[in-house]
């Protein structure tokens, strides 16, 4: 479960002054659902997800992630989340197995449990050809498999995915969507950000449309279409953004 309560983040820029990257954001993601943050580049999606992952500290407001407050108990939050960002990379000089072991150990997993989990994920994601290969020598698809396995290695109850299909081809993007659906079916709470409307439409149970740090609208795709009209989410988005 994820509950954001008036999350706000203000950055001070020497030239531009105070920049409000996230402005009193409140939303909820229940277990077994996917909440999508939909917005343009620079809308505040990454900042919001980083706050939920305790990488950034909110200027005001807070959130409860996996039952723990991100400000008072950030370490407990991080034990219960898996964070994946489309523009973060893996360690080129480590093998797939070493990468998984590293993050598994940092998640507090013991060796025996970790090795068993790696075997399990190896079968689930068909990692046989990548476990002993150095990341630097992997194709994009192989890296994505390892990234995804890394996120889920400790079986977190909350998944925070920041543009996870960034840079992926159609096949790999589709595979990622399938995984997200599977995790949803497993009862995980999934926060997912994207600027691609069709992705949000296909995956998300609830969507928050964000622009200049503000949530312009929230609801399921069908609710948003009913409320704002248009053929698809793209029409809804354009309408909302043009109004502001």
């Amino acid at each position: 479960m994820v509950q954001a309560k008036s999350l706000t983040k203000i950055f001070h820029d020497g030239k531009r002054g105070d920049v409000v990257a996230a402005n009193e954001l409140s939303f909820e993601c229940r277990p077994g659902t996917v909440f999508g943050l939909l917005g343009r580049n620079g809308a505040g999606k990454t900042t919001t997800l980083r706050m939920l992952a305790t990488i950034l500290v909110p200027t005001s407001g807070t959130a409860v992630v996996g039952g723990y407050d991100i400000i008072s108990e950030p370490a407990k939050v991080r034990e219960r989340i898996g964070f994946l960002s489309g523009d973060t990379k893996l360690y080129d000089r480590l093998t797939g197995k070493e990468t998984l072991k590293y993050f598994g150990k940092l998640a507090g997993m013991r060796d025996r449990t970790l090795n068993a989990r790696i075997d399990e994920l190896g079968k689930q994601f068909d990692l046989a050809d990548v476990l002993d290969l150095k990341v630097g020598k992997m194709s994009t698809g192989m890296k994505q498999k390892i990234s995804v396995a890394r996120v889920i290695i400790h079986n977190p109850s909350v998944l925070i995915l920041d543009e996870p299909t960034l840079g992926l081809d159609v096949v790999n993007a589709r595979a990622t969507f399938d995984l997200i659906r599977r995790w949803k079916a497993d009862g995980k709470s999934i926060i997912f950000s994207t600027h691609i409307m069709t992705e949000a439409e296909r995956l998300c149970d609830d969507i928050g449309i964000i622009e200049k740090g503000k949530l312009l609208a929230q609801g399921s795709p069908s609710e948003l279409l009913r409320a704002y009209g248009g053929r698809d989410l793209e029409d809804v988005f354009i309408k909302l953004v043009n109004v502001t």
Partner: protein, 401 residues
């Protein structure tokens, strides 16, 4: 702080760094091969140049030799000396002869040179040479030595002509005797140059690894993922710091091995140790390493702090270079022989430890100096680690937002 997380980060950084060819080059190849090659090469070239100079004939031009027939004859009797006689009319060309390498040294004999000497007086002789040419400098020394020998010969003649014995010139004979043992001489030689070299090596090992595991991770976009794990910022920093410290230590040990190989190779100018003119004990080596531990910790922590602060690898390397130069300047001060610092000097981080090393290697154990020097450098190290944790936890610094 959970030690398991520190250990996990540490081993990952070690594994990652060891697989980096640049790290292996800086840590093993450079200290083990290049420094010994450098010293051996320097020794070889120094010896070769010296032998060449000893074997080569020195060319000397004498202007107005007509006024110094005795001197001319004396010079012509010498081995490996090419004497060119230049008429007085060509005196203005004397300097040009040296610049054009016609002669290495030119003597300008003043008028009535020999007749003045025969009257029992002294006469000055100009010796022209090229101070920017090593061969000319060597030639100058030889010619000056020959002139002194010629002058001494004249003194003996003058004394003999007055019926005096030459032995009246002999008064006090100094007979220096070195009471330092071979071990003490070894410690002196080692204490002067080796700490300086080891600090350079430790800095190289620490700098590269520190930049790579901090700002390098930022640039390679792998940092966010680690920050989202359950490891705290402090645990991550300590794990990285431990890896930097290990590589700094390893580089220093490799450098020490390289230096020892150089000493015992018999090929370098440090081969006096192999020839048993100096002696280095295992205890000396151990003291050397132990006394540098606070310095190692400080350097590792300082480079970590620089790496945490930098926006890019390039920026980190630039800041590190300035810091590196400051370290070298501080370290080079300790090489100057005879330079001593008062008791308060031992409280100066880094410099205090270097002087302490010299002192300890010479067999002097002052507990106040040991505690003061070690604690001051360790205090700086703790400050640098604290700063690294602060910087690593600062969003503005880590994400430049």
């Amino acid at each position: 702080m959970r030690i398991n997380n520190v250990r996990t980060v540490f081993w990952k950084e070690v594994l990652d760094s060891v697989r980096d060819s640049r790290t292996i080059f800086l840590m093993i190849a450079l200290p083990l091969v290049i420094y010994p090659a450098l010293f051996t090469g320097m020794g070889y070239f120094e010896r070769t140049m010296r032998e060449k100079q000893e074997e080569a004939a020195v060319s000397v031009a004498i202007v107005n030799a007509e006024d110094a027939p005795g001197l001319l004859a004396f010079f012509k009797e010498q081995d490996k000396l090419n004497v060119q006689v230049v008429p007085k009319s060509k005196e203005s060309d004397a300097a040009a002869m040296i610049r054009e390498r016609i002669a290495k040294v030119t003597l300008i004999v003043p008028g009535e040179f020999e007749t003045t000497l025969e009257r029992g007086k002294a006469k000055e002789l100009e010796v022209l040479y090229d101070g920017a040419d090593m061969n000319s400098l060597v030639a100058r020394d030889r010619i000056t030595s020959l002139l002194n020998e010629y002058g001494n010969g004249i003194v003996r003649q003058r004394l003999a002509s007055r019926g005096l014995d030459v032995s009246i010139l002999e008064t006090v004979k100094a007979n220096p005797k070195n009471v330092a043992t071979a071990r003490e001489m070894g410690a002196f030689a080692i204490g002067t140059i080796v700490p300086f070299l080891l600090i350079i090596l430790m800095s190289a090992g620490a700098q590269h690894t520190a930049i790579d595991v901090t700002v390098g991770e930022k640039e390679r976009s792998t940092l966010e993922t680690v920050l989202a794990t359950s490891a705290s910022r402090t645990e991550i920093v300590f794990g990285k710091f431990a890896a930097v410290l290990l590589f700094s230590f390893a580089t220093a040990i490799m450098g020490l091995i390289g230096l020892l190989l150089t000493m015992y190779s018999g090929l370098s100018f440090m081969s006096a140790i192999a020839e048993e003119k100096l002696s280095v004990s295992g205890g000396t080596i151990l003291i050397l390493i132990l006394s540098l531990v606070p310095v190692m910790i400080f350097l590792s922590a300082a480079f970590m702090a620089i790496g945490c602060f930098a926006k890019s690898i390039k920026e980190g390397q630039t800041y590190s270079s300035y810091f590196y130069m400051a370290i070298m300047l501080a370290a080079v001060v300790t090489i100057f022989p005879g330079l001593e610092i008062g008791p308060k000097g031992y409280a100066v981080p880094l410099i205090g430890v270097l002087f302490l090393e010299k002192e300890v290697l010479m067999g002097s154990f002052d507990i106040v100096h040991i505690v003061t020097a070690s604690l001051s450098t360790l205090a700086m190290a703790v400050g640098a680690i604290f700063l690294s944790v602060k910087l690593f936890s600062n969003e503005k610094v880590m994400f430049r937002i």
